[in-house]
């Protein structure tokens, strides 16, 4: 067998591989682990920064991305050193992932790779540079808040640049603007010239074709709206750009040009100059939505002043298309609703609505009369009002600014959101100039200075404590979620919360990620929160001061809505989130998958995962090539346990004073091996009683006879362990299965790991699979991340403190003995359960003692969250 492997080895690998000595490879591996750790920390840090508690600038993003790139480059080098250059294809992968990142950092959106037209359903989040502000907001509303909006597509900035380029307009526009800006030309003339140029321009074939394809795939009529960069963000551009409604599919191109030209209306130019936006960024995306044939339509404002107090919302409604309300034509219904839950309707003014606007069959629209008997009917039902109020408050919570929302109700009674933009309320801006610190000091403080900020902000509402699945029923929109755990199932209610306060969890955990995605102000790790906060209490969380106030701190909420900046919308945060999207997600989860290749890496995290896995595999494969250790001193462990274990010490694993070739376990200084042996040598572990083999099992076992020699109950193959003081790489070939344990235990938990791999067996595959299931169940119980494929079991643990690694190695020691011939005994699936129980029964005491400090019960959530997966 060995000669066969050697031949194969020589054929596959270069001679160079012979030259690299194991200690050197081992050293590379250790270095690689360090880079691995640093890279993972960097990604975690970047993730934390997106929560708003940190102040960072572009330079930080720049430095972090470059450091990550550097670490990955080093990891690739180390892996190639270990593997004799078998992973060269990781270099182009690194470029593929980091070149776009570089472009992002330099603010040069590489439009060349972006589409001309993109469906709303396919558009990426945080990509306003491509699709503009209005479409950017709509994409978030659809994807994050899941509020229904009509289908549609965006004609992107790339299309705009293509249009300008094709018509040679960029330079001409630039010189007209310059002429105006320097006072050489008057505004109206400059604007007129530019607009004329755009309207007369020809939309190039390739672009026109794409627009038409999208238009023809959708509805017959479209709402075509401007979506300039920055529009509907902090700069509202309200009413400055054109919208064309009820456009037939075949006329979309003309409507597109009209909307694009409105970017250079005199008003828009003046506004852009005033806001310091004149220049390069004047680019126009155009949003096309299917028209909703609306029975009723109107506007909701999330803040309405009643007697000078901004404690209400207002819904305005009319029959037919939205122009009636938006342009203030004719009389309309007005509903005033309280902002505080349960959002009662405090007044209804139903107007006599004599006319309505309806779409015309061939496009366009016309005004018509409302039937006499319907004129005094409310345009919408209470149910619709409730829905609109819910949307308005959710949108305000998410965008952190008062919102003005256009909506429509179709013939089937379904409600659609058409657009949502920032509502300017000058009165609350004035009022909030009051001393915010003083106002806050009049409210009782319930919690101060505890916990960590997972997502920054201010949120207020009624406390709803969730400790189990059942508690989530009746969770009201806008409630404050208080919980002892940070369990994954909280994802269902977290997006509805106005704030989250959790007793456990970390800023790198699952709940924090959700909070950031849905922009919910969140404190985690607030000990005893549930003792102070009870169901039904009204509270206000301010993460900036780290305070939970009793009551609704109106002054603070108003301050936030007007004064405080919406950090989530700042270019730096959006850049960070775009970076994170290319860096953080893990797609390569299953090492057995055909995509688990360098080419399959999509993110930096994928690369880290891939390199780590391959490096471990390289190391694990090494003892197969025993030739490498020719001439090295190999020790034999003297033990009553019938495992003929050969030991190779690569430094510090064995007492230096030992002589001879046999050593006792007491003379071994390798921490992981000692820990493992404590389990192996427990009195009950090594069951030497003859095993009851049934006929099927026996036949199966006789049928197998690779090169295993005696086989059966004794030992087979090579049992080898490579050690130093803190590391162990153990290969066992017992009975008919292979077992590999690679472990590191030292003072710094972040470098510690256990990798457990188990495969094979003497019986048929069903029984072997049963054993795999049994192992999986036991390992999972001790927080191993377990993957089972047929009879292969892989268990992983990362980043545990020394003592936790110690205890789990003890457990693995017991398992080695326990599972030795177990497949023979696993005749039915029920046996599996029995053996799991037997395992716990028989070894309960040892496990209890050695895992005494294992956090149980509620703490398991924290464990599940914090224990990494390799």
């Amino acid at each position: 067998m060995w000669s066969g492997i050697n031949k194969l080895w020589n054929r596959i690998f270069s001679r160079k591989r012979d030259v690299i000595a194991f200690p050197q490879i081992f050293e590379q591996f250790q270095t690689l682990l360090e880079y691995h750790q640093k890279a993972m920390e960097l990604i975690t840090d970047l993730g934390e920064k997106s929560g708003g508690e940190y102040i960072f600038d572009r330079k930080y993003l720049f430095d972090s991305v470059h450091e990550l790139q550097d670490l990955l480059l080093r990891m690739i080098k180390a892996l190639n050193l270990i593997s004799s250059n078998r992973y060269y294809d990781l270099y182009p992968t690194l470029d593929r992932i980091f070149l776009p990142l570089e472009a992002e950092l330099r603010g040069r959106l590489s439009l060349a790779q972006e589409p001309y037209v993109i469906k709303l359903a396919d558009a990426r989040l945080d990509n306003q540079e491509l699709i503009g502000g209005k479409a950017g907001a709509l994409v978030q509303i659809i994807h994050r808040l899941r509020i229904p909006a009509p289908d549609g597509f965006v004609i992107t900035n790339r299309a705009y640049h293509r249009f300008l380029e094709y018509n040679d307009l960029a330079d001409r526009i630039h010189s007209w603007i310059e002429a105006w800006a320097t006072g050489k030309e008057e505004l109206r003339k400059a604007a007129g010239q530019i607009r004329y140029g755009l309207l007369a321009g020809i939309v190039p074939q390739d672009l026109a074709r794409e627009i038409k394809q999208h238009a023809q795939r959708g509805a017959a009529f479209w709402a075509v709206r401007s979506s300039a960069y920055g529009e509907d963000g902090d700069l509202s551009f309200a009413g400055l750009h054109e919208s064309v409604l009820n456009v037939p599919s075949e006329q979309i191109i003309e409507a597109y040009k009209k909307v694009v030209a409105s970017l250079y209306s005199p008003e828009a130019l003046v506004y852009r100059r005033k806001t310091g936006m004149i220049g390069e960024e004047g680019a126009m995306s155009v949003l096309c939505n299917e028209m909703v044939a609306s029975k009723a339509s109107g506007v909701v404002q999330s803040v309405h002043l009643r007697n000078g107090v901004p404690d209400s919302l207002a819904v305005y409604a009319a029959f037919g298309l939205g122009r009636t309300v938006v342009e203030g034509r004719g009389l309309i219904d007005r509903f005033i609703i309280e902002r505080k839950p349960p959002n009662q309707i405090s007044s209804k003014d139903i107007a006599r609505k004599e006319s309505l606007i309806i779409p015309l069959p061939g496009g366009g629209e016309r005004e018509t009369r409302v039937a006499e008997e319907n004129q005094l009917q409310p345009a919408i039902s209470n149910e619709t009002i409730r829905m609109l109020v819910k949307w308005a408050l959710a949108l305000e919570r998410y965008f952190k600014r008062p919102q003005e929302i256009e909506w429509a109700v179709d013939d089937a009674g379904r409600c659609w959101l058409l657009q949502s933009r920032r509502l300017i309320v000058p009165e609350i801006a004035d009022e909030s100039r009051e001393d915010i610190c003083e106002s806050c000091s009049t409210y009782p403080v319930l919690i101060e200075g505890h916990g960590s900020v997972a997502h920054a902000g201010v949120g207020s509402g009624i406390v709803h404590v969730v400790n189990s699945n059942d508690d989530m029923d009746n969770f009201q929109d806008g409630a404050v979620l208080v919980t002892r755990f940070t369990a994954p199932w909280l994802a269902q209610v977290a997006p509805m919360a106005s704030a989250i306060i959790a007793e456990r969890g970390s800023v790198a955990g699952h709940l924090a990620t959700i909070a950031r995605e849905f922009r919910v102000p969140t404190l985690v790790g607030v000990e005893d929160a549930t003792k102070v906060l009870h169901n039904g209490m009204e509270v206000t969380l301010d993460t900036h001061s780290g305070i939970v106030y009793a009551g609704r701190v109106r002054e603070l909420i108003r301050y936030e809505l007007v004064q405080s900046m919406v950090f989530e919308e700042s270019p730096e945060f959006r850049l960070l989130r775009r970076i994170l999207k290319r860096v953080a997600p893990l797609h390569l989860i299953d090492p057995q998958s055909p995509d688990f290749t360098a080419g399959g890496c999509v993110s930096a995290h994928d690369m880290i995962r891939f390199i780590h896995e391959k490096a471990v595999m390289e190391l694990i494969d090494l003892p197969t090539f025993l030739k490498r250790f020719k001439g090295a001193k190999v020790w034999t462990l003297a033990s009553s346990i019938p495992i003929d274990l050969k030991i190779l010490d690569i430094g510090g694993g064995i007492d230096p004073d030992v002589t001879g070739s046999k050593i006792a376990i007491e003379q071994i200084q390798c921490l992981p091996l000692k820990a493992l042996w404590a389990g192996v040598s427990l009195p009950d572990t090594w069951d030497t009683e003859p095993i009851d083999v049934d006929f099927k099992g026996l036949m199966s076992s006789i049928g197998k006879n690779w090169d295993a020699g005696p086989g059966g109950l004794g030992t087979t193959g090579v049992n080898l362990v490579v050690i130093n003081r803190i590391y162990m790489n153990l290969h066992l070939h017992l009975g008919y299965h292979f077992n590999l344990i690679d472990a590191r235990m030292d003072d710094e938990p972040q470098h510690n790991h256990i990798y457990f791999r188990f495969v094979g067996g003497v019986t048929d595959v069903t029984r072997r699979s049963r054993r795999a299931q049994l192992l999986a169940r036991i390992l999972s119980h001790y927080h191993f991340n377990v993957a089972v494929k047929g009879d292969l079991v892989i268990g992983r643990l990362l980043h545990l403190p020394k003592e936790e690694i110690h205890r789990r190695l003890g457990l693995l020691g017991i398992l080695i003995g326990f599972t030795r011939q177990l497949d023979i005994q696993l005749r039915t699936d029920r046996d599996t359960s029995q053996f799991v129980e037997m395992f716990f029964d028989r070894h309960a005491k040892f496990i209890e003692e050695s895992l005494a400090k294992r956090p149980g019960g509620e703490n398991e959530w924290r464990q599940a969250e914090n224990y990494g997966v390799g």
Binding site: Y54, F56, D57, Y60, H544, M565, P571
Partner: protein, 127 residues
Amino acid sequence: MNGAKLRIMVLDDEPIVCKRLKPALEKQGYEVDTFTQSSDAMEQIKQIDYDIIVTDLKMKGADGMELLTEAKRRSPRTEVIVITGFATLETARQSFRKGVFDFIAKPFKLSEIQEVVKRAEAKIRGE
């Protein structure tokens, strides 16, 4: 709060830093002016003696070191807190020699700077 509100100047050429520090410090009960141009800030310290100045070290034009030297010369009781991404020991040491109250490396947590400002306030108020 006892006594008049303390006045704080924030100077950083990255607008995001100013935009985020202003509300965070206002909520702690300070009056806050922010600047992204060191020349503007230089002019301002000729008009007003700030109680606390929070400044970046490396910027275009006059850098933070010049500003803090000038501020300290005009009003020795002004406490200066340096924030910078160039977190090297040498710059820190240099700024400490110039009488800087404390030094925070970017990126930092809001709570970190709030805490340092509070300590500076305690010193100013002689607590």
